[in-house]
């Protein structure tokens, strides 16, 4: 819909070559319009944001409040301390495989992992561990397995335990 603006609503009408004073006044009123528009939006957003923060706070406090019927107990998530625990070979293998799969969108296949991991593999392991443990784990050492057959055995064990065997 086209709005017809009455003449008295036009903020300023300048001649083609306005005097400096008139030009400055025109600029100031323009800057004021921009400040009013964006300042008005700022105030509205602050108000709306405050309402949302308040409702979020209430929802959180309701969730944190103790209930009379403790039939359903929410599992408490504790930080995982894996700094001194060796990561199982199957987990390491899965981490590397998952990260490589994601990075190469399934176009790469892992042929093997060198006995001493290259810096690239170490970086992949570090990124994967960081992603999975959300920064709560620190890699102290990466220990390669003794023999290649261990990888194969771990893979078979993984597949085996992932299916119900009758």
């Amino acid at each position: 819909m086209t709005a017809i603006i009455p003449d008295h609503l036009v903020l300023a009408v300048l001649p083609e070559y306005p005097p400096v004073a008139e030009s400055i006044a025109y600029q100031l009123s323009g800057l004021l319009v921009v400040l009013l528009a964006l300042g008005g939006i700022w105030l509205m957003l602050e108000t709306i944001g405050a309402l949302f923060r308040r409702s979020d706070g209430e929802a959180k406090s309701r969730a944190a409040a103790p209930t009379d019927s403790p039939s359903v107990v929410e599992p408490r998530i504790e930080p995982v301390d894996v700094a001194n625990e060796p990561i199982s070979p199957s987990l390491t293998h899965a981490l590397i495989a998952g990260t490589v799969h994601a990075a190469f969108q399934g176009r790469a296949r892992i042929m093997g992992v060198a006995a001493v991991p290259s810096p690239e593999v170490q970086a992949i392991i570090a990124a994967a561990v960081h992603s999975i443990f959300d920064g709560r784990a620190r890699i102290v050492a990466v220990k390669p397995l003794n023999t290649d057959t261990s990888w194969a055995r771990e893979g078979r064990r993984d597949i085996f335990v992932s299916h119900r065997v009758r």
Partner: protein, 415 residues
């Protein structure tokens, strides 16, 4: 045989070449070099430069350019042929007595006579804003809405340049069109120029897009000049997460407020917020993808080429073009300074929750280049200080601010 050959040569384009056309070939070559070799806004500079080259070739069937009595070239006009039709009996009456009907038998024009109507009829810039809205995440701005003020302050360059241009001999309408370069928002600059000073459209568009690509060179010295080392290492609070509902409400609020305050910017604001609403509502995935890709890409191609085709040597090679290029830097500089100084002022008013003044410069639109400049400058002094998301707030606020400023200019000068 030789006489026939000479007659044929006279029908070729060689006879129509002028020295100004040859100079414009060089200008187009420089623009292509900047876009391809230096990577300066290639998505726009390549079509613009190519269009500029075509505009200065003696083409047929591409674009009609007529020299008006006032010495200016008018492009993208086409001929409509037809004959008047008698009004059917019984359909007359006082109300329609002034209306005449015409049966169109032929429409004659070049390819870009029609495509360029997208600029003349002001269709392309708002439709590009649809794509911009679909691509923009206003989350950082909603999480820290006070950065809207930085986007407003960064419009300072527009108004200061207005006066500078006026003092250099440009009319008020032309000055407003030149000043909008400081907003670093190409579609808005084209939208406003087409309304107020279409004769300067080519030069203004080239200046706007060239300077947008030069943001990493223009802004840092001004940012360093206006800030202390202590201010540059200010770490800002982490932004709160913003819900989907908040983003939807934001799109509606911005649209309503801006349309009520500056109805002349409605086309830009409405399309920007429509694109953003489609994105955030998360149920119109196909429309969002079309807006983010096909629509904006096709329109960018047509817009850039149409703008380039306005760069005819006879009108572009004038002292005014040099002045516009110079004034563009002034506009950019003052806009950057306005944002940085506003951030410093806000820190004086609110010392408990300080803003790193380096994000103030992102108030000029140039999304997301200006925000990246803030991030890079911040990390130069503190490698672990990540300002990018904070800078995105004033950056997208600048888009809204420039559209509002354009609406003000149109409201006051365009009627």
């Amino acid at each position: 045989m030789p006489s026939g050959f000479i007659e044929y040569l006279q029908t070729t384009g060689f006879a129509l070449l002028t020295w100004k056309m040859l100079v414009m070939w060089a200008v187009a070559g420089v623009l292509l070099w900047l876009a391809i070799r230096k990577g300066f806004e290639p998505l726009l500079l390549v079509p613009i430069a190519f269009g500029a080259l075509v505009a200065n070739l003696p083409t047929r069937g591409v674009l009609t350019a007529d020299l008006r009595p006032d010495g200016l070239y008018e492009t993208a006009t086409f001929t409509v042929e037809g004959h008047l039709v008698e009004a059917p009996a019984g359909e007359g009456g006082d109300e329609v007595s002034n209306v005449q009907r015409m049966r169109v038998t032929r429409v004659e024009g070049g390819l870009f006579d029609f495509i360029s109507q997208g600029i003349k009829l002001e269709l392309f810039p708002p439709l590009i804003f649809l794509g911009v809205g679909a691509l923009t995440d206003f989350g950082p701005l909603i999480a820290m809405p006070r950065t809207l003020l930085l986007g407003a302050a960064a419009q300072l360059g527009l108004f200061i340049t207005f006066m500078g241009a006026n003092l250099l001999g440009f009319t008020a309408k032309q000055s407003a069109s030149i000043g909008i370069i400081g907003g670093a928002d190409g579609p808005t600059a084209i939208f406003l120029s087409n309304k107020l000073a279409p004769e300067l459209l080519g030069a203004i568009a080239v200046a706007a897009y060239s300077y947008m690509s030069l943001v990493p060179l223009i802004q840092p010295p001004i940012m360093r000049l206006l800030t202390t080392k202590k201010e540059r290492v200010i770490r800002m609070k982490r932004l709160r997460p913003v819900s989907k509902l908040e983003k939807l409400i934001f799109a509606l609020v911005v649209m309503i407020v801006c349309v009520l305050l500056v109805p002349d910017a409605s086309a830009l604001i409405v399309m920007l917020m429509l694109g953003n609403f489609l994105r955030e509502c998360a149920v119109t995935e196909r429309l969002v993808k079309a807006s983010q890709n096909e629509i904006i890409n096709v329109l960018t191609l047509f817009l850039g080429t149409s703008v380039g085709l306005t760069m005819h040597g006879e009108s572009f090679l004038a002292p005014e073009t040099i002045k516009i290029i110079l004034l563009g830097v002034v506009a950019f500089g003052f806009s950057t300074a306005g944002g940085v100084l506003c951030a410093k002022l806000m820190n004086v008013c609110s010392p408990r929750n300080p803003i790193n003044p380096l994000i103030g410069s992102a108030g000029v639109s140039a999304v997301p280049m200006a925000a990246r400049v803030s991030q890079v400058e911040g990390q130069r002094y503190d490698k672990n200080n990540h300002l990018l998301m904070h800078a995105m707030g004033p950056n997208v606020a600048g888009v809204i601010g420039t559209a509002v400023a354009a609406g003000y200019f149109i409201a006051t000068l365009g009627h």
